[in-house]
């Protein structure tokens, strides 16, 4: 199924084009912030990273439930892709946030709810990847990693809503009303671009995983000589 789809490369190229435009506008066209100055430009990658990471993990949840329900390899592969891309984005998110925090808050890190739940989210999903790598039997790996992913997903709504539910150092979500209109455009462009790039990466990763799962399944491994050129 996945093999026939080449759409993801268009999605990826489109994402790359938009991210170049969005970043250019964000860095050189949009105004500096009144108090944060140029540091605030980190927002144009930080917020898109956060959105796309959360969407990745939401997709992981859907894929994990589907994988448990249907026991199809395709969902297992999509889930793996989602987890890996989500982890990469979350790791980037934490580093960008830390740099921004040093400039504005004055500290690299603080055990505030937003930061803690985000770090926990990264560790939880890395744990799922680790679990996968240790299980050899395919069915069991699919089931158990789906279960671990579903359990890990409990943290995802917490990451998003915690700043509204509890007092934190991290500011709550901004909205177009709280952001200067000239800053909204690069933010939106980069958000769309990050999402497209994330979809692209998930699709590539899922294809790799699916190929691996099918190779695992093959009754007799093909002679290696064919592939070595």
């Amino acid at each position: 199924m996945i093999e026939r789809l080449k759409w993801h490369h268009f999605v990826g190229l489109l994402g790359l084009a938009i991210v170049v435009a969005g970043t250019w506008i964000g860095l050189f066209v949009a105004p500096a912030e009144r108090h944060m100055g140029d540091v605030m430009r980190i927002m144009y990658v930080h917020v898109p990273s956060a959105w796309s990471a959360l969407l990745c993990f939401t997709f992981v949840f859907v894929a994990a439930v589907a994988s448990l329900w249907t026991s199809r390899k395709r969902w297992d592969a999509y889930m793996t892709g989602g987890i890996e891309v989500g982890c990469v984005l979350t790791a980037l998110l934490l580093v960008q946030g830390s740099i921004w925090a040093r400039a504005t808050w004055g500290v690299w890190w603080d055990w505030d709810v937003r930061l803690t739940t985000s770090l926990v989210m990264l560790l939880l999903f890395c744990g799922v990847l680790a679990l996968r790598s240790f299980i050899e039997e395919a069915n069991r790996r699919a089931t158990w990693s789906a279960i671990a992913a579903i359990v890990a997903f409990v943290d995802v709504p917490l990451v998003y809503f915690c700043v509204r539910w509890w007092r934190s150092l991290h500011q709550i979500q901004s909205s177009p009303e709280t952001v200067n209109s000239a800053m909204v455009l690069p933010l939106r462009l980069n958000a769309v671009a990050f999402l497209l790039i994330a979809i692209w990466m998930i699709a590539i990763r899922a294809r790799i995983e699916l190929a691996r799962l099918q190779a695992e399944d093959a009754p007799e491994p093909e002679p290696l000589a064919i592939e070595e050129r």
Binding site: P31, A32, E33, R34, H35, M36, M40, M43, A103, T104, W105, G106, V107, D110, D112, V113, V154, P157, F161, W165, W166, R167, S168, L169, Q171, I172, Q173, S174, S175, T178, V179, N180, A182, M183
Partner: protein
């Protein structure tokens, strides 16, 4: 469908409802007001003696006109307010560049016997307003206090 598999479904649905209910309660139950990451000046005053001697976090706005720098350039005195109560603060740390009057701060430190709060970890709390330099900040002190999420809702 046999009774047993239906019973299993009922059990699963009940479990999902319990989990969802617990999560909703965490969100809406208002326990967030009590599990605070930092205390407002009012809460700190309310705690009185109980807050003495322990490391606590204090959050609020830097009161306008309260910033004084010591001669050595390190000791910093200011007041933190939430609109109703004000706590005097001494800080033995270099504040971040965004430190100014009317900005939110979160301080980690101790309440001394004379009612001043001493901190060595001063963090600036920015709200979710992002404005260009030429834009005027039309917000009143009350609006700024509101942005500190001192009352949850």
């Amino acid at each position: 469908m046999s009774n047993e598999s239906r019973s299993r479904k009922v059990l699963a649905i009940v479990a999902v409802l319990i989990a969802g209910g617990a999560l909703t309660f965490l969100a809406m139950g208002g326990i967030g007001e009590n599990l605070v990451y930092y205390w407002s000046p009012s809460e700190l005053k309310e705690a009185g003696e109980g807050a003495r001697g322990a490391t606590v976090r204090l959050g609020g706005l830097v009161a306008p006109g309260s910033i004084e720098r010591g001669d050595d350039g390190l000791a910093l005195r200011f007041a933190v307010t939430d609109g109703t109560e004000t706590v005097a603060v001494t800080a033995s740390t270099v504040p971040p560049a965004m430190f100014r009057e009317g900005i939110g701060v979160v301080l980690e430190g101790e309440l001394a016997g004379d009612g001043t709060f001493h901190t060595e970890r001063l963090m600036v709390k920015h709200d979710n307003e992002y404005r260009a330099p030429e834009e005027e900040d039309g917000r009143s002190m009350e609006d700024l206090v509101k942005s500190l999420q001192l009352e949850n809702g």
